[in-house]
């Protein structure tokens, strides 16, 4: 039996085998800018929000890496789901996520988003975030230290720069799956559906 995180090795191997994507030079340039500018939605969904002020203020200063806060979902690239997620919050997170403009990413902090964490037997929190929304990066810890959060952002930036992340596409493609899971815990009140025509309006003039 190997030590450390068990699946790590396997994942690295699978990455080697996957096809390298062919990007046009415009995409390449766009990804270059995207990884240097990340706007994080100001929404503290759980206890992890307590380590965000140190990350974003002068001690760890995430703005050095081009990461800064954004007030509204329209302008944000990343939503941080910081730890446990009660049903009531999950509904708001889904709603907020769907309003964000593509491309968009989800960063999940802490144990609770992976397998319930210490609230594994709580009647009011979800256990696995990936059932409801496509998660791009998990950060380990309870709570993750600011260094861990920065590390998570840097890993995300690397993936963005390589153009590997298309989780929003995954969400649109597998919407039925996500919707089913969302309805299973939230009932019919998740509405409106993501494919309502006012959501998927593509491009301006």
């Amino acid at each position: 039996m190997d030590e450390g995180f068990l699946k790590e090795q396997q994942v690295m191997e699978s990455d080697l085998n996957s096809e390298t994507s062919h990007k046009s030079s415009v995409d390449f340039l766009m990804d270059w800018f995207r990884r240097r500018s990340i706007f994080v939605l100001a929404y503290g969904t759980g206890c992890g929000a307590i380590e965000m002020p140190p990350t974003f203020t002068s001690r760890y200063d995430a703005e050095r890496l081009g990461i800064r806060g954004a007030a509204t979902p329209r302008q944000a690239d990343v939503i941080i789901v910081s730890g446990y997620c009660s049903y009531k919050t999950l509904r708001r997170i889904i709603r907020t996520y769907e309003q964000m403009a593509n491309p968009k990413y989800i960063l999940a902090l802490g144990s609770c988003t992976v397998n319930g964490g210490m609230y594994w037997d709580s009647y009011n929190t979800i256990k696995r975030l990936e059932d409801y929304l496509p998660v791009d990066m998990y950060v380990n810890g309870c709570m993750p230290r600011p260094e861990s959060i920065l590390e998570g952002f840097m890993a995300l930036q690397k993936e963005i720069g390589d153009g590997k992340i298309s989780s929003w596409q995954k969400y649109e493609d597998n919407y039925a799956f996500y919707r089913k899971n969302q309805e299973a815990v939230l009932g019919q009140t998740v509405a409106p559906a993501y494919d309502a025509d006012w959501y998927l309006y593509d491009g301006g003039l």
């Binding site: 100001a42 503290g44 969904t45 759980g46 380590e51 203020t57 001690r59 907020t96 009011n124 929190t125």
Partner: protein, 368 residues
């Protein structure tokens, strides 16, 4: 056409100006608030149920999550309630260490308030400095307890680790740094003309209301009432320490800010006494294993002074190894509903963040 004038907006839960994950439904005419309704529950995890499922020792690790910015009063409360029910007496050293942890956490929490309050009027520099200063305290906590935010340190029957070598010296160094910094905060924030113009006369509470409705902490002290659990019903060793209860007149946001600022001085003063007086002794009484530790059938009500006011626990045992019932009564419960909904009527949208920060509303302890 009266109805057309009203706009209903949700201030939160996704809003930069909200203190945590909660929301206030505001009914506005122009930018003046006609009616405010608080909504919580975004952070409800059912602690009181989870605690019932766990043994006392297991439950101890979970209580610190109840209030995220300031976990230590929860641990202290839990430990004190369990000790009172089980009849455990802890040593003097433990009491001093607990006082030290509580005061450090109060100082850290006030730094967080400083950041929130200054951020609510757009003075971001103060917030950035204050959070970095708070990190110095978190570094101390990391050294003492092994965790930055969640310490899980105050164990029923004692504390989990002894002080590391030279810890008190490093603490003194941080305190000296803080003394220097607090003067700067006075100059750039408390004394700032723009803060005064925003805060004076906003969110006024009257002393009679305070007593009747059970408001606690800075809200009371901002009305000139000298109320502090540390003085009124001393716990741990607060009766052996010399400190004052700062008060201010006016009952507005500025009065509460002055009180908080003066409390930071008092915390430093207490910590300096703790450094001088720290006795030797055991840090933990002998505790049975977690399946054998039982609480008698009895109930109690314990309270400590957190950085935002009286923080109380009701705890009942039933003779088994599990807690029968633990109810958390944080300072925010009444503040966020009765008080906030009152204060916001007639205020402007710009004042919402200001008032919320000055009340120190912390949603995780409301809904638990």
């Amino acid at each position: 056409m009266e109805t057309n004038k009203h706009i209903t907006i949700f201030h939160g839960p996704q809003h930069p100006g909200i203190t945590g994950n909660m929301s206030v439904e505001l009914d506005l005419i122009g930018e003046t608030i006609q009616k405010a309704t608080t909504h919580v529950g975004y952070l409800h995890r059912g602690f009181e149920k989870l605690v019932e499922r766990r043994t006392v020792i297991q439950a101890f690790t979970i209580v610190c999550r109840i209030c995220v910015p300031e976990p230590d009063p929860n641990e202290a409360n839990f430990a004190m309630a369990v000790e009172e029910l089980a009849g455990i007496e802890v040593s003097e050293r433990v009491k001093y260490i607990r006082v030290m942890v509580l005061e450090l956490s109060r100082l850290a929490s006030q730094c967080m308030w400083l950041a929130g309050q200054s951020g609510s009027i757009g003075l971001y520099a103060v917030g950035q400095w204050a959070i970095a200063d708070r990190d110095l305290i978190l570094d101390l906590f990391e050294e003492l307890t092994g965790g930055r935010v969640y310490h899980m340190y105050i164990y029923p029957g004692g504390v989990r680790r002894d002080l590391p070598d030279g810890f008190l010296r490093r603490l003194e160094k941080v305190l000296n740094h803080f003394k220097k910094r607090l003067k700067e905060y006075d100059n750039i924030f408390i004394n700032n003309a723009s803060f005064k113009s925003r805060a004076i006369g906003v969110g006024i509470v009257s002393p009679e209301e305070c007593i009747k409705n059970g408001y606690v902490g800075q809200v009371l002290r901002g009305c000139g009432i000298e109320a502090d659990v540390r003085k009124d019903a001393p716990y741990l060793v607060y009766d052996q320490l010399d400190f004052e209860v700062p008060t201010a007149q006016g009952g507005d946001v500025y009065a509460r800010a002055l009180v908080r600022r003066a409390e930071m001085d008092q915390s430093i003063h207490i910590l300096e006494q703790v450094i001088d007086k720290m006795p030797e002794g055991e840090i933990m009484v002998k505790m049975p294993t977690h399946r054998k530790f039982k609480l008698p059938k009895n109930d109690t009500w314990v309270k400590v002074e957190s950085s935002r006011g009286e923080f109380a626990y009701y705890m009942a045992g039933d003779g088994s190894e599990k807690i029968r019932r633990m109810q958390v009564r944080g300072p925010s419960l009444v503040h966020a509903f009765t008080l906030l909904e009152d204060l916001l009527v007639g205020a402007e949208l710009s004042d919402v963040a200001l008032i919320m920060n000055s009340l120190g509303i912390c949603p995780p302890e409301i809904e638990r």
